[in-house]
Amino acid sequence: MAGQTFSEKLLSIKSGKKVYAGDIVVAKVDLVYMHDGTAPLAIKVLREEFGEDRIWNPNRILFFIDHVAPSSNIDTSKLHKYMREFAKKHGIRVFEAGYGINHQVVFEEGYAVPGALIVGADSHTVTHGAVGAFATGVGSTDAAIAMMTGSLWFKVPDSLKIVLEGRLGEAVLGKDVALYLLGELGTSGANYMTLEFHGSGVKNLSLDSRLTIANMSVEMGAKNAYFPPDEIVMQHLERVGAKLPVKPVYPDPNAEYVDTITVELDKIEPLVAAPPLPSNVKHVREVEGVEVDQVFIGSCTNGRVEDFHAAARILKGRRVKDGVRCIAIPASRRVFYELLRDGTLEILVEAGCTVTHGTCGPCVGAHFGILGPDEVMVATSNRNFPGRAGDRTAKIYLANPYTAAAAAVEGKIVDPRHLLRKA
């Protein structure tokens, strides 16, 4: 029998039969989660469309209030209430406003474990590939079905092998690896596929950077991502306590991939995705001088400790330029607290950033930093579509936290390495 990729192997385990790319399986999921942007519709589908009010297992379903949190308007407040009432009735845990962004909390609370099958009603559920889970985003109807039955059908994806070699250079983070791949693969180059990461470079990547890379795999169309779980992952789970059984799955050496791409990490420089698509990738040099109205450091892509340490290296002893808003949002309370204790938040506040608790905020243009006509934002988030963060004429440049912080200081896009060298 032919060897299996990670996804083939994992879906074989979860469906109870040996399957390969292209097969359709019904598989048991280990965890289902959704947030205030998607849960209300999933609940409505379950109750009003399917006409059911049963759920499969309250301990394996999580709700998050994180997208517009706390609520900024009455209509959203009503949807939040609707979620809370349903959750209370069925004993589902709600991570309230302020707890943090769903993907980050699932990760840091130990719900994302190697070998788990996770579905989330949000496309960035793919983030958990960083710990070796099979994690993919679904819509509200699929989320309702998973919530009701604990299973869902899946098409076993083809896999693309990405071999990482070497080590990242100065002012370069996982974000730049994701942007580099977006430049190579475009917005649909990995459509329906798994991005499987391998190579000696993986061990040189922090877990935070792996999360960023897995997170943005969906921007290339990927169904899921996978990093082989190693000691870094196991140490993290020991620290936080795994909430699900840990059963690492590794692909067979003779598995078949549609293609293999090798990436030399040393050669990657700070990159930027210019509007209107995340695949419109440029070297930061090419967009130097673009004037900026707002900077956003945060989101499920770059709202972790590593990201704010990077921003603080730039912001320490400097000021956000007059006329520029710099919004810094640690992705969860845990991240916030760690940054509070180690002094990072003090640096951000001293520099003039507006700091708040974990919410999606300007990432999705629903509250806390909505852009006006023609305004320009440099953001560490993952999408730069017109209208994503406010008015449709506003422009969003996606970058790593070094570049974002440097833009806040200079009021325009610059190569962050200039500032690091001056420090």
Partner: protein
Amino acid sequence: MASKRFEGRAIRLGDDVNTDNIISYRYKSRTIDPRELAKHVFEDIDPELPKKIRPGDIIVAGKNFGYGSSREHAPLAIKGAGIRVILAESFARIFYRNAVNLGLLPFTVPRHFVERTRMWDHIVVDLEKGRVYNTDSGVEAAIKQPPNFMWRIVEAGGIVEYYRRHGRLPWEESQ
């Protein structure tokens, strides 16, 4: 499914039409009512478009239609506007799956068909022949329908309809 033939005006869109283009988070975060969502469908592509769209119109788009988020509000807004058929060169994964679940008809068409279709051209989709025609520009092409497993869901009018009719999900049958 009731009909094997669909006719309507083309809503011609480009490549990478994403879920934020389809329906902005400004509305998604406030309502889950398809008719309310439909009032703002494609607003960020052209603010006038929601007013011009009529039930029965057919989307004709380039590659990677439905790129971006998993939010079902996007296909729901399309469905709420009375659109049933979406022709595109290719679809983003989650959108495609959501569209099938909602009973929309997503078909893949070749690029030349998209290129030779203008806004509001008259489109005929013939499922029996497996072909699509633009009677204004004269271009026609074969359509690729969803794989069998998904087609059963589409034919039932969506996964919810299927469940209502059979009292179980499609994959629960053989068990």
